[in-house]
């Protein structure tokens, strides 16, 4: 462990640079993936005939192994093989694929009586969607978002296997030197990052669903 700390001190500048790349790779795809999954999930919920093709299409996307997507995207997008953009696009695809179904199911899990009550109060169907259905679906969508965010962080490291530089490069160093310290430093930062994201999303869910705490406190 002392060796790991020493390694961290000796290489902190390099590690900080990699951490910055890893941070945007971990955040941007989750945000974009969610932003895409909300409207598409709504379509799957609103137009029942579109549910099976959308959900199975998303399932198929989710089936593609990450390493395969990292390798294939340069051929499709014309990016360089070591470009971090490939990783960002791949993780966006996974986040989207995971969340589409959850959004659609979350929206349709709202009790019909609740919807009727909202309509009776004079909500238009758009107001009802934004102010009733989405808030009620937040815990379900949030749980999916946590899974996506945490697994994305650990998937980022896979890109190092083909040489994309980010924090996973610490593992490559550990492998090449046959030594523990870089690998341990990498594992610690990756796991810490995943836990922080998880905690932040959990906090977001709590802030967006104040009624749950109110009920729990009674």
């Amino acid at each position: 462990m002392g060796g790991a700390w020493q390694y961290f001190q000796d290489h902190h500048q390099e590690i900080w640079g990699w951490t910055k790349t890893t941070l945007w790779l971990a955040t941007l795809p989750v945000v974009v993936g969610l932003a895409l999954a909300l409207p598409v999930g709504w379509v799957a919920y609103r137009y029942k005939w579109s549910y099976p093709p959308i959900v199975s299409g998303a399932g198929l996307l989710y089936t593609i192994p990450s390493l395969v997507l990292f390798v294939t995207l340069p051929g499709i997008l014309g990016t360089k093989i070591l470009d971090a953009k490939n990783v960002a696009v791949a993780l966006t695809v996974y986040t989207f694929a995971l969340l589409v179904r959850i959004v659609a199911d979350g929206l349709s899990s709202v009790a019909p009586a609740t919807l009727d009550a909202a309509s009776a109060m004079g909500y238009t169907s758009f107001q009802r969607l934004v102010r009733v259905q989405l808030p009620i679906a937040v815990p379900v969508i949030g749980a999916g978002l946590r899974v996506a965010a945490v697994s994305n962080v650990s998937l980022i490291s896979v890109a190092s296997a083909i040489g994309v530089t980010q924090l996973g490069s610490l593992f490559v160093e550990g492998f090449q030197q046959g030594k523990f310290p870089p690998t341990i430093v990498g594992l610690v930062i990756f796991i810490a990052m995943a836990l922080v994201f998880d905690a932040l999303i959990l906090l977001g869910i709590r802030l967006l669903t104040p009624w749950r705490q109110a009920v729990a406190a009674r």
Partner: protein, 279 residues
């Protein structure tokens, strides 16, 4: 022979090289061709999934049945998801490669000198396959209608009989979906495990290709061809397990009952993963 073909602006051989690669029989049937690599990939996947099921199924059923150790299980499953697979793989490899100096080999399975790679790879793959299997098995048992459990008890079944005849069959849909996610996870990560020397499987093409990317036969075209093959394996495995699921799950549970009862527009159950993440 080192033919370098550079077509696109990104300095990589174009996608049109992939069909050419697939068309060359020597890429299929050589000693390290597509067929042998695919066989290795499937062998690794099958052995890892079997080991993981042997561990996770009894443990998950036990936790679901007794309700003990749930907190530990949820915490463990969630934290395992955060572990970067490549990091764990390399950590274990560094540890084992100092300690294993055996030259044992198993034809088509472990290459000579590959034991120091193979053991860490199997450990990491099993560790990754456990969370979906464990959480889904546990959640499947937990989700069993309490009335069904009570009825079984009322009929005089012992705890083990309730587990075997009621809880396990009722939990099968979720167990099978856990098995499917675990299998996909393993197929994907077997490719990553090729980062370690002497490991076979289709990831070999991808890892080796990334060292000589502009090369026409072993570079980017081979990486893409192997990548497509891994993706096809994943889709086929998922479809196959979906078929198995249809066969083993009781029709009364899957809503395909022969007595076409009215299916209520009930609320869809959140997935086990989502439930646990919410816990």
């Amino acid at each position: 022979m080192t033919v370098s073909v550079v077509a696109a602006g990104n300095g990589l051989p174009g996608l049109d090289r992939v069909p050419i690669w697939f068309n060359d029989p020597s890429n299929w049937w050589g000693p390290d061709g597509l067929v042998i690599r695919t066989r290795e990939h499937l062998l690794y996947t099958a052995s890892v999934v079997i080991i993981a099921v042997l561990i996770a199924l009894p443990l998950g059923l036990l936790i679901g049945h007794t309700g003990r150790g749930v907190f530990l299980l949820v915490g463990l499953a969630n934290s395992l998801r955060a572990v970067p697979s490549l990091g764990l793989l390399i950590l274990l490899y560094v540890w084992f490669s100092e300690r294993i100096h055996s030259n044992a080999d198993i034809p088509y399975f472990i290459e000579r000198g590959g034991l120091a790679s193979f053991i860490p790879a199997v450990i990491v793959l099993v560790v990754l396959a456990l969370p979906p299997l464990l959480t889904n098995t546990y959640a499947g048992v937990q989700n069993v209608d309490p009335a069904a459990r009570d009825a079984a008890r009322g009929m005089g079944m012992t705890g083990f009989q309730v587990l075997r005849k009621v809880e396990f069959p009722c939990a099968l849909p979720l167990i099978m979906s856990g098995l499917r996610s675990a299998t996909l996870q393993v197929i994907a990560t077997v490719a990553v495990a090729a980062y370690l020397p002497f490991m076979g499987g289709l990831g070999r093409f991808i890892i080796d290709g990334s060292q000589q990317i502009t090369q026409a036969q072993y570079g980017y075209p081979a990486m893409l061809a192997a990548g497509i093959t891994v993706a096809v394996l994943a889709v086929l495995a998922d479809a196959l397990l979906g078929l198995v699921q249809r066969i083993v799950v009781s029709p009364g549970l899957s809503g395909r009952s022969t007595t076409r009862r009215a299916r209520g527009r009930g609320t869809p159950r959140p997935t086990a993963e989502a439930q646990l993440a919410d816990a």
